[in-house]
Symmetry: none
Subunit: 403 residues, 2 copies
Amino acid sequence: MADRPLRELGWKTPLEAAGKPVLDQIAKTGICGIIDPIAPGVPAGSDAATLAMLGYEPVKFYSGRGALEAVGSGVTVLPSDVGFRCNFATVNEALVVLDRRAGRIDNKDAAKLAASLQQVRLPKSFNAEFLFKNTVQHRAALVLRGPKLSPAISDSDPETDGKKVLQVKPLDKSPEAKRTARIVNTLMHEFRMVLKEHPVNRERAKKGLPQANMILCRGAGTVPKIVPLHEQFGIKPACVAAVSLIKGVCKVAGMNLVYVKGATGTPQTDYAAKAKAAVHALKTHDFVFLHVKATDVASHDGDVKLKIEVIEKIDRMLGYVVDHVDVDSTFLAVTADHTTSAATRNHEGDPVPVAIAGPYVRRDDVAEYGERTCARGGLNRIRGVDLMPTLMSYVGKAKKFGA
Amino acid sequence: MADRPLRELGWKTPLEAAGKPVLDQIAKTGICGIIDPIAPGVPAGSDAATLAMLGYEPVKFYSGRGALEAVGSGVTVLPSDVGFRCNFATVNEALVVLDRRAGRIDNKDAAKLAASLQQVRLPKSFNAEFLFKNTVQHRAALVLRGPKLSPAISDSDPETDGKKVLQVKPLDKSPEAKRTARIVNTLMHEFRMVLKEHPVNRERAKKGLPQANMILCRGAGTVPKIVPLHEQFGIKPACVAAVSLIKGVCKVAGMNLVYVKGATGTPQTDYAAKAKAAVHALKTHDFVFLHVKATDVASHDGDVKLKIEVIEKIDRMLGYVVDHVDVDSTFLAVTADHTTSAATRNHEGDPVPVAIAGPYVRRDDVAEYGERTCARGGLNRIRGVDLMPTLMSYVGKAKKFGA
């Protein structure tokens, strides 16, 4: 949601340009500030930032994206497994990436392709097996299972269109890393063979759609070893989110994942359904994390107009929440997990705004929710990892340090 | 540059009292804040603060002043060497320091004395050699080389006039520290013998100048083991600075040192030449660090009038920079490496102001560059070590944490 001032908006940010009466009301009645998800100037990935904002020191606990994505997609990931985030992508014969998201392939086509990929057999000598599962659109998860695997390997995803698919390489000198890289390279080659000739792709070609003829993998990782939130703070937490990565982080943190029909992780997600689900979850949980991916999607696509529309939809979504919870006994914190610039289309290191409304907060004089207005608020500038203790202190669940 | 409010300025700081239209314009168009070079309340040394502001955690990487000063003066310092910052000083027969800077001796006299000192021979049994080099005015660098040396030794410099020169003592119980202390004490004694009878000093006595008849050493240290900036951020950095200590930090960080004729590290430095050199360096580098020592010199001498003059000269210097770079593609950050109070004449723990101007920064409503105005800016309060990631994020060179 957070951004930088944009020339086309008269040097306003999308958040500053959007009509957002509910967000402004939350800022007005609450205490505001800015948050460095990881640390000042450090562009945050969604996974590390969400981990931090749930109270886990990211530098200590973050152990790669892949396993989190897999957990979130419903795959069981064992402590010894190595997980990967994958993309269905479009490549040419020379393996140059034409579209890292295969035209944001729909879930139905992706599911068919994934089912075929799961049939691939690795050579017995590898002594390893795998699970492959598509999640939302072009996104998928891969889990490697077997003895002596290591997450210390590079990505095959070149991260930009127009570049060649990369060979996966060991990042340290361990035999485990070498072995894991060899397995992944073999698997990617086998996947390519299956996808290249797949009927779904022939069908897509006929329709003029980009073929999903390659799998790109990145973010090899293991499941972080963290104490779940209910043990940490004595709360019963739930998560309303659509994208696997966020669901993975929340599940690892011990939160109940609430399934919401129509929640897609896209700008077309059912905002109202998510709001209803969050309000409903609050009846049986005392902490609900409601996540919307769509602002980030719009930013990565450089679509300023869409980003503003999404912010306005989020605002209406929050309107439902505010109208349906007991504001005398409920705290509401609104923030973003990172800044994504619609100009650079990348995650950037600028801090994000936060507003916390609820009983007894030290209300300040910030009257609008935005990157710059919140910077003048009473919370000043905190780190992602500070947010959860701040909230837990409001609800009387923070642990005293000292006597 | 940063200071505290002074009674004689009607409780303004020198920066607040100075005419500084360019600095104010940078503050006005940019985002402002305050920086704790090391941590809140910790008075920072120039070396540790500069190291921090280049992105290196000072508590982890700072390893003493001496080796940095030596590197900056052009002496090769090996990983096993111990370096010292030295002063030419004036002492009486009882070794009481009369002037820690020998009347800020000129470079010519200092060079002659240094050449004689380099002739001193240490006893063979010490199994150690040394390099001694004068830098600017009373400043000099000493490097000890040999097996089993330790930087864990105390200073001979009492740090104030009127006190006796100190015996150097080991700071831990290692044989290395004991041995190093013995070598330094011997060397200081031999130096004293040479200086006492030196023709240059006889000449100075005739002219009524303080004799440089003693070497004071302090800040025993080794070269910090840090990853250079080009590896860390993929940038090509340059440094425009005159004093050895700052040049040493920059060289260790892998920056190209730009030689500027007339840059002296004194209030009489050629500000215009430094500005030109910085603008010129920006044509072949993508990060240029422009350092002026003179405000600190004026503060240590308690010369408020001079400090204000120097700030006004810095302002004109920055005017040249602003007029000669492409402001649509260049970021400009102005800050200080520490607060030096013209009243206490010491480095103090107060934060320093910062303003960053450039494309897409979240411009705030600070309209004047100063210690107190910047404290209300959009950056709020960050640490020295946060500055470099913040700048690298603006130029798209920051590494994402997480995925």
